[in-house]
Symmetry: C2
Subunit: 149 residues, 2 copies
């Protein structure tokens, strides 16, 4: 069960999943000529083992491209859009740290509700926070006394 817990994180990260240029274009709505240009300018990066072979973009890059496009659509120039994406990137990092540190367990209780354990309160280590997800997908937050390990 521990190995599966660990897997949840790996599954979330999915760092190793790579997509090609045309797939990247498809899922971001950015044309491949744009992507090629952005890459030439060093705004985004891909892994390409040899010349004339497929580009491999990480999912991170896909998100990055989506966000750059978001700013472009707002009317910013490409340079500014790239700059704004870079500033924003810190938030993504925060999110990823949160997920890998705070999702301490996912279980089902006897009622069939899902429980997501988030760990102890920093100010009161005798209590931990968990989220309850009921059958309708409603989520609520709760405190409970910490169980002994």
């Amino acid at each position: 069960m521990d190995a599966l817990g660990k897997q949840f994180r790996e599954i979330f990260k999915s760092d190793d999943i790579k997509i090609g240029m045309s797939e990247l274009a498809k899922v971001t709505g950015v044309s491949s000529s744009q992507i090629r240009y952005w890459e030439r300018k060093g705004y985004i990066h891909s892994q390409q083992d040899q010349q004339n072979k497929n580009h491999h973009f990480s999912l991170m890059t896909a998100y990055q491209v989506r966000i750059i496009k978001f700013y472009l659509d707002q009317g910013y120039t490409l340079q500014v859009a790239v700059q704004k994406e870079r500033e924003r990137r810190a938030l993504g990092k925060v999110f990823r740290h949160f997920i890998s540190d705070r999702i301490q367990g996912i279980e089902q209780d006897s009622d069939g509700d899902g429980l997501v354990r988030l760990g102890k309160l920093d100010d009161d280590p005798t209590r931990e926070v968990y989220a309850r997800v009921d059958k309708n997908g409603q989520t609520t937050l709760h405190l409970r006394v910490v169980q002994e390990d």
Copy 2:
């Protein structure tokens, strides 16, 4: 900013990202002949518009394959591994509900720490839970009095 908040969820979901059979094989460590067989048996599904064209597997399917492989590696037969993955799927659903409902905002505070707002306590709606992520990536959980909207 709201559009970007929404985007965080879409980014997380990444439903629309599809990968080919060989990429799926690569990232899961399951051979493509296995994948073909599993698909023929109806254990996994792909989108394939026409005959002899590329399969498109969702990231969900990639996770599914990884988990089936996990059980196979434990010594279960394929049928049992598939069955166990199905039972386990409820947990993934819980996780996704948690993310889309509970990540109510990601910000940086004046110290440069990241804050992930998780929403109000069910038992005490005057207080909300948030996680703090410091520069070292350490995360801690806190309560605070709810701010007015």
